[in-house]
């Protein structure tokens, strides 16, 4: 049991008005400490459901999810922090107060949590924006605040559900580089959901490809190359082609379904 995260034969169905929909089917996955594991797949393949299970927000119908050897039944902010696709900041709180949110819930004294949050704003590139409200920040800044909020509670595991999905491409590339830097310094375990081949290849130690609905694990790609990676190298170009091959059929199927 050396894996930090273990997903064992997990299944999930949703009831909809047009009958039950199987979101996940017999998914098993193990993530070791310090890994950057990316889950990639077509829209509606259950990636977010899987992440929700790791976060303790969604219950599995069958199978189980273990973190640190213990079954996940509810959110556990001492072990797992989550960054959502839509930043989900609280509009009545400043950037700094948003970063403090998790610490506040854990009862950390005001001065202590202010100090932790203020220190985080530097590497987040938000030092001058501490007292700004979310509506005054750009999309990329908002997402960095959301990441800051997750990093502030200093958990071993950080889950990220398409954190850069709503950003434009340039911002997205820069945010990827920035996240890589943070991850390499903190050595946290990251589970990252994305649609982007580029993000998957540039950031991950491992890429998990999921099938169209019902979501199953189609293949796993190990990426032992050092960082930062040159995406133009023949090796990376080859991997990209291979990964696209894997995803392409699934995306086609997902598209045909609509």
């Amino acid at each position: 049991m050396s894996d930090l995260i273990a997903v064992e034969h997990v299944g999930k169905q949703y009831r909809t008005s047009s009958g039950p929909v199987e979101a996940l089917h017999d998914v098993s996955l193990a993530v070791g400490a310090g890994e950057f594991c990316t889950v990639i797949g077509p829209s509606g393949c259950g990636k977010s459901t899987l992440l929700g299970m790791l976060a303790g927000l969604v219950a599995a119908d069958s199978g189980r999810v273990l973190v640190d050897g213990r079954p996940v039944t509810a959110p556990d902010p001492r072990r797992v922090a989550t960054v959502f696709q839509d930043a989900g900041l609280f509009p009545w709180r400043t950037a700094l107060e948003n970063v403090e949110f998790g610490l506040e819930l854990q009862g950390v004294p005001r001065e202590r949590r202010r100090a932790v949050a203020t220190e985080l704003l530097g590497p987040l590139g938000l030092r001058e924006f501490a007292s700004k409200y979310p509506r005054e920040l750009s999309g990329g800044m908002r997402q960095r605040v959301a990441i800051g909020r997750a990093l502030a509670i200093d958990t071993q595991i950080v889950l990220m559900d398409e954190p850069f999905g709503a950003l434009d491409e340039q911002t997205r590339l820069l945010m990827g580089e920035w996240l890589l830097d943070i991850w390499r310094r903190t050595r946290k375990t990251v589970v990252f959901v994305t649609h982007s081949l580029h993000e998957a290849l540039a950031l991950s130690t491992r890429v998990v490809v999921m099938t169209a609905r019902p979501g199953r694990i189609k293949s796993v790609l190990e990426l032992p190359m050092p960082y930062p990676r040159t995406m133009e190298s023949p090796e990376m170009a080859g991997l990209r082609a291979r990964l696209w091959d894997e995803i392409r059929d699934e995306s086609r199927r997902a598209m045909g379904e609509r």
Binding site: A55, G56, L57, P75, D76, P77, A81, T82, F84, D86, G88, F90, P91, W92, F101, G102, E104, L105, Q106, R135, R149, I153
Partner: protein
Amino acid sequence: MRVLALRAAILTAFLLAWEGAARAANPLLYVPPSAALPALGRLLALESYPDLVPSLLLTLREIVIAYGLAIAAGLGCGAALGLNRVIGRAYAPIVGALYAVPAVVWYPSLMLFFGLDAASKIAFGFLLGFFPITLAVLAGIRQVNPHMLAVARAFGARPLTIFVKVMVPAMMFTLVGGLRTGLALSVIGVIVGEILGSKSGMGSLINHAYGLFRTADYVALVLVTLTLVVGSDAVASLVERRAQRWSE
């Protein structure tokens, strides 16, 4: 500045038109400002109605009690309707339908239940203020972004914490709007109640002056009552603007 000047201009124009029209027609019926102002002076000097101050205080007290009860009941019922899916589905449509009924139709019953004294006025003010507050709480809870609730849960927030730290601030704007409407309606309820039937309070004085055809005194009393209403609404609007800066 320009807004103030425009306001002053329309007020002056209105007063002049009133003066001219009232003199041309019937000064007793239409009470021009030149008659209303001296009457107001006599009223404030406690000459025409020596019991002005106790009447004003009684009306104020009725308003405060009616509004306080409306807030307490409105917050409680609104929260129950908004937070519990079953209760909400069962009762929210009924509350909405009752709000649409012209509340004056209940007033005779209230007088029968609570008598001619303060209690029936408080009950009527409460009834009018209760609905907008309840419905604002309900609407506020329903418009809280469920995504924010998921975020709070992911960070380990329990239901009570979620309510205090997420739901209340998220619905603050709607809530304060409802509280403001509730205040205005509670004030209306109390004063209308007094006019429709009572032995004391501002409404009763208004009724008295009107009944004796003391039209100038009547207008003066209405002006004092208006000040009360406008004053309470000004305080409410100040609070509302504060809340507006908070949310969104």
